[in-house]
């Protein structure tokens, strides 16, 4: 209750600050260019509003002397634009970090500072830090901010109409799909393969964790103890292939926005989701929706979820305001930030150990799976995408092909394993 009260207060304060002082402040001091202005580089242009009206004002309430600017590029252009600006010495003070190698690369080039000595880093577990630490785990170079969780969002009204209950096992999942298909009014699964990443992320990684047993399988893959041609991976591809008959008409050229629209218009029953879809659906869907975790395969009793460390914040090594940047990062590590972030952007879940109340019921359901299931990150992100061809992009390609029916599950598994074995020592044997 208390925390609820706090946030409403914060929200109101945020609005006030935003409307009145922020605009005036930035205008009045624009020319002054004090040493205390921090610029954040980010790919989250969708969140610019929340940063400018909620997060930064909340920070300024505590630290009125540090001004913060949020500057975002479109996600697909971010890496290229950031690299160019870092090389040219014009990048902002705070750098939003992609997980694993993209940021590790920046750290190795000396473009990011270590954050080991920043207060608040102790609030994060090793798993949370793993995406932004060196391979030996000794140095962390970005302050973890949030993760995203995969699962399935379903249209509650359609489920009620067809008297379906959220499936718990793969068998129940297919039974539900058959029923929806037999009814004929709705597309059972809203997903397309045109953008390719949906197939890999919302498909392969979403359901796969249950087959390769989360972290256990992910680590075995990195150590070379498992190969992508092993049973769990072939089974994941096989399960993915079985979705094809349930997908929308012409799903081969259906893009991500098409998929979202298909679901929010109430024309599809089940949407393989990332938790970041929740705030979008909240805005667009005029029906009730809910979520269920990836269904368990036959014989499995323990559930796993893809709880992917996605976003963090680091310090530009060339920044002139390192102390102010560190102050900001300590605040990002605080429970206060976690609370604002989790509730203003439901679907991005804080990684700190602080206990946070997520108020959106569907987002809360996603994060609630952390209590019942084992979390794991996407298996292609750590180390395995370092070489050419890189595993992540290969997975996009083959997952889309498996769904399109142009590649058999075994062929897909063989292709990604061959690609990995061509440059990654532990898989060469």
């Amino acid at each position: 209750m208390r925390s609820h009260h706090n946030t409403t207060l914060l929200r109101n304060a945020g609005r006030l600050v935003a409307t009145a002082s922020l605009a005036a402040l930035t205008m009045a001091f624009a020319g002054a260019a004090s040493a205390q202005t921090l610029t954040i580089e980010s790919w989250r242009n969708d969140d610019a509003d929340v940063w400018n009206t909620k997060i930064i004002p909340a920070f300024n309430k505590k630290y009125p002397n540090i001004k913060v600017q949020f500057k975002a590029d479109p996600p697909t252009e971010y890496n290229a634009a950031l690299n160019a600006r870092l090389a040219g010495g014009t990048a902002g003070d705070l750098i939003t970090c992609r997980p694993f190698d993209a940021s590790l690369d920046l750290f190795k080039k000396g473009q990011l500072l270590s954050v080991n000595d920043v207060k608040g880093i102790e609030n994060f577990s090793d798993v949370a830090k793993s995406a932004w630490s060196t391979d030996d785990g000794k140095t962390t170079f970005c302050m973890p901010m949030a993760s995203v969780i995969h699962g399935f969002v379903y249209n509650k009204e359609i489920f009620d109409e067809l008297k379906l209950t959220p499936p718990k096992t793969v068998k129940e999942f297919h039974a539900a799909l058959d029923k929806i298909k037999a009814d004929g009014k709705y597309t059972p699964i809203a997903m397309g393969t045109a953008d390719q990443w949906e197939a890999a992320t919302m498909g392969f990684q979403n359901i796969g964790v249950n087959y390769w047993k989360g972290e256990e399988g992910r680590k075995a893959l990195i150590e070379g103890k498992q190969k992508l041609t092993d049973q769990p991976y072939v089974q994941t591809f096989a399960e993915l292939a079985s979705w094809a008959p349930y997908m929308g008409n012409g799903y081969q050229s259906q893009k991500y926005p098409d998929t979202q629209n298909l679901f929010t218009l109430g024309r599809a029953a089940i949407y393989p989701a990332g938790s970041w879809d929740v705030p979008i659906f909240r805005k667009q869907a005029d029906f009730e929706f809910d979520a269920f975790a990836p269904p368990l395969p036959d014989g499995a009793s323990k559930c796993y979820i893809s709880d992917h460390t996605d976003i963090a914040l680091g310090i530009n090594a060339k920044s002139k305001n390192v102390e102010a940047a560190k102050t900001f990062l300590s605040w990002v590590a605080s429970p206060e930030f976690a609370e604002i972030y989790a509730n203003e952007l439901p679907g991005f879940f804080p990684l700190s150990n602080a206990k946070v109340d997520v108020k959106d019921p569907v987002a809360a359901k996603f994060v609630g799976w952390r209590n019942t299931c084992e979390s794991s990150i996407r298996n292609s992100y750590q180390i395995l995408s370092r070489g050419t061809p890189n595993l992540e992009n290969e997975l996009w390609n083959v997952s889309a092909q498996v769904l399109n029916g142009t590649m058999k599950p075994e062929e897909a598994a063989k292709k990604v394993e061959d690609g990995l074995a061509s440059w990654y020592e532990p898989h060469k044997k």
Partner: protein, 319 residues
């Protein structure tokens, strides 16, 4: 030009009457400076960059032709390179046949002597060329969309519904579809160039041919076509260079991974992925420069074939 100008300059300065001909420098300077700064220097710097390789600290060291060796021999690179080159050739062939064929046909129709409203057609047909690629990509994706597009219902009206498919999403049809969208956009350019050449042909020649007993087909084949051949040559080389530099439409429609399964990948998208990186693929400026240099070589070969094989045999007519 310079051959003729040089002796004159020499004799003049020999006499000592004139100073250094500053006006030549002044006239050459703008083009020379701008070209050197924005075209020639980057071109040579790209070639230089392609001879280096970067390590993980960002330091670069000279590797000679090592990058080219990797590009052509490492299966992870060469597979993509040859695939992109093959797709690019198909892309070019479709443009040559369809775009320039239709362009020629439209130009013939436009130059009909008794055509009314010619300027309206001309404007309408040229309009897509002036639209932004992003808009073209968006509109066509929307029309061809199997969920909410109008293509399927339009086909249903004429009873061809069973031939509809998710053309942009199938490996077998994606490249053809993207090519045809590009053809639709750019058909105005060959049309205008050929039209300009056609209306330049004096009526006397056509009348003389008709008087000599030539039918419309003979007039086209034996009189008009030979006279516009130089223009067709220019159109071909423009198409070639534009196609091998193409990138934007495919990026707008299919993204940098040019799916499905790289079936729409051309040299431009391959270069983009290599240079800037994509998703977890980290960009490599040096390898990107290598791909860019390979593209330069491909285009150079094509242009040289045209220059020595075609251009020199063309006869220009002035009336």
């Amino acid at each position: 030009m310079t051959d003729i100008a040089a002796p004159e300059v020499q004799t003049e300065s020999f006499v000592g009457r004139s100073r250094f001909p500053i006006h030549i420098v002044v006239f050459l300077a703008p083009a020379l400076v701008i070209y050197t700064l924005f075209s020639i220097y980057p071109l040579f710097d790209t070639i230089r960059l392609s001879l280096y390789a970067g390590d993980e600290t960002g330091a670069r060291h000279f590797v000679g032709l090592g990058n080219f060796y990797t590009l052509l021999s490492d299966p992870a690179w060469s597979g993509q390179f040859w695939n992109a080159l093959r797709n690019n050739l198909i892309f070019f062939a479709i443009h040559m046949v369809v775009q320039n064929g239709i362009g020629l046909g439209l130009a013939m129709l436009l130059s009909l002597p008794r055509l009314t409203g010619g300027s309206v057609y001309r404007t309408l047909l040229f309009l897509p060329t002036m639209l932004s690629v992003v808009i073209i990509g968006f509109i066509w994706q929307l029309m061809l969309n199997p969920l909410w597009g109008i293509a399927e219902s339009l086909l249903a009206v004429v009873g061809l519904k069973q031939f509809f498919g998710p053309w942009l999403g199938q490996e077998s049809t994606a490249l053809l579809t993207v090519s045809l969208i590009s053809v639709w956009q750019f058909v105005g350019i060959p049309m205008m160039l050929i039209y300009a050449a056609l209306i330049n042909i004096p009526d006397d020649l056509l009348d003389a041919a008709t008087v000599d007993g030539a039918g419309p087909f003979s007039v086209f084949w034996f009189v008009r076509l030979p006279l516009i051949l130089p223009t067709l040559g220019v159109v071909s080389i423009l198409t070639f260079v534009a196609n091998f530099n193409a990138f934007d439409l495919i990026y707008a429609i299919k993204g940098a991974l040019a799916g499905p399964n790289f079936s729409t990948d051309i040299l431009g998208t391959f270069f983009y992925r290599t240079f800037f990186g994509y998703q977890l693929q980290v960009g490599s400026p040096t390898m990107g420069a290598t791909v860019a240099t390979a593209m330069l070589v491909v285009i150079l070969i094509g242009v040289l074939i045209y220059l020595f094989g075609v251009q020199r045999r063309l006869q220009r007519h002035t009336f």
